[in-house]
């Protein structure tokens, strides 16, 4: 749980008041709380997209790429968990765990892009694009020139 909180707080930094304004900045903590739910929903949607796509067309390159990313994500989390349970090696947190965020973003992007190519998954892909767009706007609001985390 500490690892998860570290990743969320490192990814969703508080909004810069000069970029986003005072009113929006006050909402950043609420958004950060929401981001946990967002991520869980996004993972579920992306997994569904991959599973649906896999059944539909196993040859689709994007689906295969998304499945590869999912495999890497699952494998890495499993290895970290086994190392934590057996040798008490600490789980990745903040800066050391940021590769998980990148892997997840690439996986999610590939799943959404593969869904865009099919008619049946238009709604899911629209939700996926909306999630990515909202997060991109949030990250723009986090831009700073005089501050660097860690």
């Amino acid at each position: 749980m500490e690892s998860w909180r570290g990743l969320v707080s490192a990814s969703f930094e508080t909004l810069n008041e000069r970029m986003a304004g005072h009113w929006l900045s006050s909402l950043s903590e609420a958004y950060r709380q929401l981001a946990t739910g967002w991520t869980a929903a996004a993972v579920t949607v992306a997994r569904l997209l991959v599973l649906l796509g896999w059944r539909r067309s196993a040859a689709d390159r994007l689906i295969r790429f998304a499945a590869f990313m999912l495999l890497v994500l699952a494998g890495t989390v499993l290895v970290h968990w086994v190392a934590f349970k057996t040798t008490h090696l600490l789980l990745p947190k903040n800066r050391t765990g940021l590769f998980l965020v990148v892997l997840f973003t690439v996986f999610f992007g590939a799943a959404v892009a593969s869904a865009l190519q099919t008619k049946g998954s238009r709604l899911m892909s629209a939700i996926g694009v909306a999630v990515l767009a909202i997060n991109a706007i949030y990250f723009l609001g986090c831009l700073r020139l005089t501050y660097f985390k860690e």
């Binding site: 590869f68 890497v72 890495t76 290895v79 970290h80 050391t96 765990g97 590769f99």
Partner: protein
Amino acid sequence: MLEEGKLRTVRVALASLSLGLSFCANFSFAFVDGIVMLIFLVSAVPRVENRAKLAAAGLLPGALVALLICGAGQRTSCILALSR
């Protein structure tokens, strides 16, 4: 044009090189790099005849890059520690 098996071996070698650089960038990437290389090797094994060459292509470039980049830093630290 390279044949399928050789092409895969070259791809695995390039992946190993990239993963070696990734490991040097941050040691906490070790597990994810290992998993990626494992998946690459497992997926390439059925399509490549010379498996010893494939294993070498998967392990040596990455290990060499890690030794060259991180090894140099380690050697400097050792020399500095010994010279005190």
